[in-house]
Structures are given as structure tokens and as C-alpha cells.
Amino acid sequence: MSTEGDSREQGEHARAGNDPVMADLGVGGSAVRAAAPGDAVAGIAPRYVATPPDLRAASSLLAAAARHGLATVPRGHGSTVGWGRPPRRCDLVVDTTLLTTIEHTAGDLIVQVGAGTPMADLDAALAGAGQRLSVDPVVPGSTVGGVVATGLCGPRRMLHGTVRDLIIGMTTVRADGAIVSSGGRVVKNVAGYDLGKLHTGALGTLGLIASVTFRLHPLPPALRVISAATGDAATAAAWRASVLRSTTAPAAVELDWSAEGPLSLHVLLEGAEGGIEARAAEVAGLLGAADTAAELPPDWGMLPGAPDDTLLKIAVAPGRVTETAASLRTAAEAVGIPVSIRGSAGAGVLYAALPAAADAGTAADTVTGLRHSITEGALTVLRAAPGVLEQGLDLWGEVPGLPLMRAIKDRFDPDRILSPGRFAGGI
């Protein structure tokens, strides 16, 4: 990420000395370079990439970008920067990877962490004190900012809640460069509006997430994963219902249905060493022929499919989750698309991947058809494979409350310069 090296690639005109905009972007201390082809966001090439070393610099940077009317897209490690719709404009990518402070207060079970911190680094730092952030990484390599901006979370959401449920404070930079904090550093706090909720899952359309404060949990002394597989969705539904009706308090009930294999249900138990065997035995009894392991399966919680696939998020009334998975399978198989499904059977939130190789028109029709069959819930296309967007597919479907969302965007970012167009309703 050296300024000199990248400038060289871009040629003379991009040097800060000859580009007053670039010079202005760097005034607050951000390293600024001309963008390279690899910096494109969903195919839209920016002009600049700037890397603020701290919050103050990020504030100056966004203020300068606003003065110049630059459309700005935040980026951590870039693993989800192409999600949502392609931005209508993208002039500046703000690279958050230097915002990596970790302030862990173990006695209070909280951590304040810079947005650019890789989730893996955070996990390692917390594990040293016997604690964790109870958010399973679902995209390898993602940063804290990326996880929060996409609102992504995995299997353990069933017991511990979603990523937004674990956020107790947030510091963001507004479109005009103002530094805005909400929440705080205590677990219990109802002072003021909880602006962190708005930024979670907003794909960087309301502000740049600079740091996030989370509540933490102690690492459980023991865990067991009880797994069973079936070819029949109705059987899985019965298993699911019986586990949820038990008092074994699972941390996760995860559905895993790869394109090739049968439907697997994984039940994760966490807790005291002394009680775990009895709970595992009870769950195993409910699942019939089940395997019990003392470790998580290798790709636990990871999103299904490959990075180029069309990725769906399907949230339904939780009692209908297996039925929904089965109708997706049936619909996709009928048109020859092998679909992989994974997600929280407990919470009723599934991710599904339609291969990039599938015919774009057929994939788009399948998505639209499935969306219409959901009576209670929502199907969101998190990421569209190449060609699928061009089929006119609506990534969001109907979004209740959209006028309020637009009103919020109008006030937070009146000039529409933060990730314009990436979000629902063209926000």
C-alpha cells in the first residue's frame, strides 16, 4: 500500500503534486494514491484510494472528499466491497486497514476496536483473555468494519444475537467529515438514539464506520457439535422442532445442505464441562443416528458457494425454515441449477448460493419466483453473479419503510456521496 509504488503505476498525472484534489485529500495525514485497476468497486473504477492512519485523519479525509464532491466507498479487506448494487459513482475508496487499534477491557467484557481490524486478529486478542466476540466469521478475511457494514453473522446468532445485538457503541465519520459517536463503553445504556443500529448493515451509505465497541462473552469451557443428516426436509424439520422444544439451550442449530449432499443439521452446545455430556446425549437422542464431536466442523458457518456465485439471504418465520430450503432446492433443481444452502435453522435465516456458471436469466427468475413464494420474511440478494444484475433483478424486493430510510439518507448524506446506489431503493 505504498504511495510511491502505486503512483508509479498510474503515471505522472496522478502524483499529488500535480493533482490539487489528491493533495487536499492528504492534508489530514491520510496516505493518498491514484487508484489501480484492482481498486474497482463492483466494476466501477475510483480515482483515488486514501488510507487514513487514525480517526482524525479519516474525518479530514471525508471533509475534503465532500468539498470536492467525491463519491466515497469505504473498504476494509475488500471481501464484501462488491456487495449490494454497484455504486452509481465511485471517486474515492477509503481504505480502513490502518484503523486497527484494539482496546480490550477484559474485566468489563468489552472491546473497542478499529474498523480495519481483521476479525481473526480480534479473536486472537480476545482469546488470550479467555473471551470472544460471539459472532462467527462467515467470510474469510473480513474486517470488523466489513462485518458490521454488511451486518453478517453466523450460526451462534441463535443464542447470542446478531452482530448488531452485540454492539454497544460506535464511532463513525459522517459524509461531511463530522465525527459522530453514539452508545458508549458500558453494556447497559439507553442515553440517546442508538445510531450504531442504523450503520449496521447499511453498506457504508450513512457514514464511515471508524470504530466499534462490542460486548463480549467468556469462551465456553466445553463445546459439542451433534450432527445428523437426512434426505428428507420433513425429517429435518421434526429434528429442529424437537431440539428447540428441549431445554438443552443450544448456541446454534445450523442447517447445511450442499448441492451434492443430504441435508445436515448441526446442533452446537456450549457450556460447563460438567454438564455438556448429558446435554449432548439428550440432543443426540432427539436426532436419532447422530455424530457427536468436541470440535466445530472445518468450515463452520462459512457462506455457501464460491466467491463469484449469486448469494441470497432468506429470512423467514423460523418454523418454516426447512420447508423454505426445500422449496428453493426444488425450484432450482427444476431448472438445472445446483444450489447450496446453509444458515441458522434456529433463527430462520439462510444463505444460498446459485453458481456463477448458471444461466443468468434462469438464476434471476428462480430468485424472483422464490421471493414471491415467501409469505412472511424477505429474500435479499447480497451479491449478484456477473450478468445476473443485467437481467433486471431487484436485489432487495419490497422494503417496508423505504421512505423513512430515504429520509434518513437525505439528512445524513444530502449530497449522496457515500456509497451512492449500493443500498435498497437506490439509496
Binding site: 448488531r164 458500558v186 435498497a424
Partner: protein, 487 residues
């Protein structure tokens, strides 16, 4: 009644029916304050709608005429968030009290806003489920009010706040639009308007239908009471428990003065001579609970507990909780008047802050009883004074304010669960900077461009600031009539 309101009354009667509109002064007076009785104002007119459509029509009428409105649930709030406007309409949800659905298959309940918090659990309990947020006024406080305040309760240490349990809302916006957000499915698409709305203290609209998560009742609940000679010893036990990786459902602490008050009020029979008592409740699978219970018992003993009592059935548990739950009401027995504070400090700062509160108390000669949620650092100091003594109220208010200063100084919050309302709006700038507050105001104006939804609550205004914090005298009216136990 102000002239512009008078003109609206026939229209309000058309909407809510004759018996759904209150104009009589004596009847309006019963709504002049919420649980924080120090703040009072006669509402211009009171309406009691029964449907979402009626609420929307009333709000639209207000919007068309630029008349402010204030939502009110059961009126148990402790920050004057439901303080009426003399020039406005008070919209009371007490007639919207149907439980629309208990859906065990999907682990959801759908309710109207006037339903009492505890009634959800009562309806779900026969099927083995419950609604987790448990503010101490849960027998009477309304779910709609819980939405407005993002209510917590003793068990939020483990189970979170109202916001963590709401999946769907039907909201009447300040412009009178009806918006259905989320439902039985999680993760409603788009910005998290539900998470934004919960805790917005009636400034972003009125929730008229609420979908909440039901939890499976735990297999086992065990409760213990540990008595210590000093607060420091009790505090050390709390640190040891958290440090050992145990997450109890609740950890509550009381000091000698609050124990004395509770003893005189309800004869709870706590161990004599205790300088502090700790109540620890564990719940979950039986084997887990038993293992953790033994660990917690050992940690309490190691920290100097001189007596430990345990309860395993509901009746024994109720006996342990009795003193804690009656503490607020009980101080009315030992002091003519008192101020309830609701500050939060990082849990590790608790010993230091409690010492500083004791110093404040000694210096000022004002007694402070400490009752608090020790697991999450949420303090509820009760500042005691005699309101017949000249200047005592002011001195108590100063002590109460100084306690909030301590919370802020230690990186905490001015309110953990009672809300900002009118009471703490002027203290918001001590926690948030101008850009923070201005951004919050931007959010507010996105929902309420005309500024008619519960104006002058939550965010500071020049007119508001300068009034002194609330002082309550004697027992809360709901406690007096036996309807509520207050933390």
C-alpha cells in the same frame, strides 16, 4: 383548553368515539405525570384509541394542525418521557391490550402496545415459553412503553434488552403513516429501523403492534443470597464470578442502608449485620446450572461471604428477591423523600465509584442507599432527604447530580434503563458532543420533520435546560396501590 385543541375535539371524537376522548379537567389530571411525579403538566386533551387506524388518524390530525402529541403507555416511566403537553394531545395506549397471537412454532408473540409486559409470559408459560425482558414494573408496565424506553430488567445481563427481542413493529409515524416493519422473520431488510425505533422514547412515532421473540423456559433456575461484611467484599465476589467466565442471569447488590430499608418495609429476613448482600441467579440446563452454582458458591466464600442461602423452588426464590424488589418502595419508610438515580459505570469501576459515593454522602450529610445491577454496573442510588427541611432538596439534587458526574467521569452512562425523557435531556451534552447530538437530531427530523412527536424529550433544548432533576416524595403511586414493585 387551548383554542386550537378545542377545535380538534369533535374530530377526535369522530375518530376515537365519545368515550375515547377525555376533556374533563379532573380526569385529565390523572395523566399529568408518569412515574417521575416531580414533572407534571395537564394534558390539553387525552385520547384512548383502540386500533392502529385510530392512532394514525389522531396523529394525522395533529400533523395537519401542527399540534404536538405525546404517547403514553401505563405511565410507569421514570424519566418523565410521557410528560404531557398542555398544548397537545396525549395518546394513551391503555385500551390496546390484546395479545393477538402466541405462536410457539415460530417462538413469537404478537401484541398490542397496551399489553402488560408480564402478560406475555403468563400467556406463553403454559407452553413452556416466556418473554425475557423483565423491568421490575413488569406487572403493569406496557410493552409499548418498553419499546419506547428499551427497557431492561434484572435479567438483561444475560438476555439483553427489549431491542434484542423485537422482530416486528407496526409504527404510526409522526406524519400519521402506518408502516409495518419486520414481522415473525428476523433481519428485516434495509436500514435497521426497528433497532432505531426501540428506545426512541416516543419521539419517532407510536408502535401499535409488536412482534417479540419468546424464549424456551430454562430447565433449571437457582438463586442464592450471599451476605458480606463490606461492599468491597461483595464487589470482589462479583469480579471473581465474572472473571471465572460465569454469566449469571442476574447479579444484584444492596448495601447496608437499603437492606435496613427493605427489612423495615417487608421483613425480608436478610442476614443480620450484612454490609452488603448479593443475589445471584443462574438459569439454563440443569447440569450447567449445578456446576456453575457450586463455582459461584465457592467464589463467594473465598471473597468473604459469611452466610449463603440458596433457593431452588419458586417460593424460596421469591423470598430472596423480596427485599431486592421492594428496595425502592422501602426507602420511603426510612426517609420522607428521595431521588432515584439511574447511572451506569463500567463494572470494574464499581468499587471506586461506590467509595466515592460514600465520601460524597459523608461530606454532604445526605444519606445514599445503594441498590444496583452489579453484573452490568447499573447503579440505582437512592438519595434520601427530608423535604420539610429548607434546602435539603437542593442538597440532595446536588448529590444526585454529583453521582452522575462520577458515572460520566468513569466512562459510564447517564441512564441505564430509565431513559432520558425530560429528566436528563439537559445532561445529554455531558455524554455526547455537539456533532453527536446534531446527528441524533437529524435522525429525529427524518421521522418527524415538523417536530410534533414528544417534543422536548430526549435531546436538550434551551427552554428545557435549567430545571432541576426530579425528586420523588414517598412511595410511587403504583407501589402504594400494590400494583408494582420498583427497582
Amino acid at each position: 383548553m387551548p383554542e386550537p385543541l378545542l377545535a380538534l375535539v369533535p374530530r377526535l371524537r369522530d375518530i376515537c368515539g365519545g368515550d375515547g376522548v377525555i376533556t374533563d379537567t379532573a380526569r385529565r389530571r390523572t395523566y399529568e405525570s408518569d412515574g417521575l411525579t416531580y414533572h407534571a403538566a395537564l394534558p390539553g386533551v387525552v385520547v384512548l384509541p383502540t386500533t392502529t387506524e385510530q392512532v394514525a388518524a389522531v396523529v394525522r390530525l395533529c400533523a395537519d394542525h401542527g399540534v404536538p402529541f405525546v404517547p403514553r403507555g401505563a405511565g410507569t416511566g421514570l424519566s418523565a418521557g410521557a410528560l404531557p403537553r398542555t398544548d397537545g394531545v396525549l395518546i394513551v395506549t391503555s385500551r390496546m391490550r390484546r395479545i393477538l397471537e402466541i405462536d410457539i412454532e415460530n417462538e413469537r408473540a404478537v401484541v398490542e402496545p397496551g399489553v402488560a409486559n408480564l402478560d406475555i409470559t403468563k400467556a406463553a408459560a403454559p407452553r413452556g415459553y416466556y418473554y425475557a425482558p423483565d423491568p421490575s414494573s413488569q406487572q403493569v408496565c406496557s410493552v409499548g412503553g418498553n419499546i419506547a424506553e428499551n427497557s431492561g430488567g434484572a435479567h438483561c445481563l444475560k438476555y439483553g434488552f427489549t431491542v434484542n427481542h423485537v422482530l416486528g413493529l407496526v409504527v404510526v409515524t409522526p406524519q400519521g403513516e402506518i408502516v409495518r416493519l419486520g414481522g415473525k422473520a428476523a433481519d428485516a431488510p434495509g436500514y435497521d429501523l426497528i433497532g432505531t425505533f426501540v428506545g426512541s422514547e416516543g419521539t419517532l412515532g407510536i408502535a401499535t403492534e409488536i412482534t417479540v421473540r419468546l424464549l424456551r423456559s430454562p430447565q433449571k433456575v437457582r438463586t442464592m443470597l450471599a451476605a458480606f461484611e463490606t461492599m468491597d467484599a461483595g464487589g470482589a465476589a462479583v469480579s471473581a464470578i465474572i472473571g471465572a467466565g460465569v454469566l449469571p442471569a442476574a447479579i444484584e447488590m444492596m448495601d447496608a442502608l437499603s437492606i435496613e430499608a427493605a427489612e423495615s418495609a417487608v421483613a425480608c429476613g436478610y442476614p443480620p449485620g450484612a454490609g452488603a448482600v448479593l443475589i445471584v441467579e443462574l438459569d439454563g440446563p440443569a447440569a450447567d446450572v449445578d456446576a456453575q452454582f457450586d463455582a459461584v458458591t465457592a467464589l463467594c466464600r473465598a471473597s468473604g461471604a459469611f452466610e449463603i442461602r440458596t433457593a431452588s423452588d419458586a417460593a424460596e426464590r421469591a423470598r430472596i428477591w423480596k427485599g431486592r424488589k421492594s428496595a425502592f418502595a422501602a426507602v420511603g419508610r426510612i426517609s420522607p423523600a428521595y431521588i432515584v438515580q439511574d447511572g451506569v459505570v463500567p463494572r470494574t469501576a464499581l468499587p471506586e465509584v461506590l467509595r466515592r459515593i460514600a465520601e460524597l454522602s459523608a461530606r454532604s450529610g445526605i444519606r445514599v442507599a445503594n441498590v444496583f445491577h452489579a453484573g452490568d454496573g447499573n447503579l440505582h442510588p437512592l438519595v434520601l432527604f427530608d423535604d420539610t427541611e429548607p434546602g435539603a432538596g437542593e442538597r440532595a439534587a446536588q448529590v444526585s447530580g454529583a453521582i452522575l458526574d462520577l458515572c460520566i467521569e468513569h466512562g459510564g452512562s447517564i441512564t441505564g434503563e430509565h431513559g432520558v425523557g425530560v429528566d436528563k435531556a439537559c445532561q445529554m451534552p455531558r455524554m455526547f458532543g455537539p456533532d453527536d447530538l446534531q446527528t441524533m437530531d437529524l435522525l429525529r427530523s427524518a421521522f418527524d420533520p415538523d417536530g410534533i412527536a414528544n417534543p422536548e424529550k430526549l435531546l436538550p433544548t434551551p427552554r428545557l435546560c435549567g430545571e432541576r432533576p426530579g425528586v420523588r416524595k414517598g412511595e410511587h403511586p403504583l407501589v402504594a396501590e400494590g400494583a408494582a414493585e420498583l427497582f
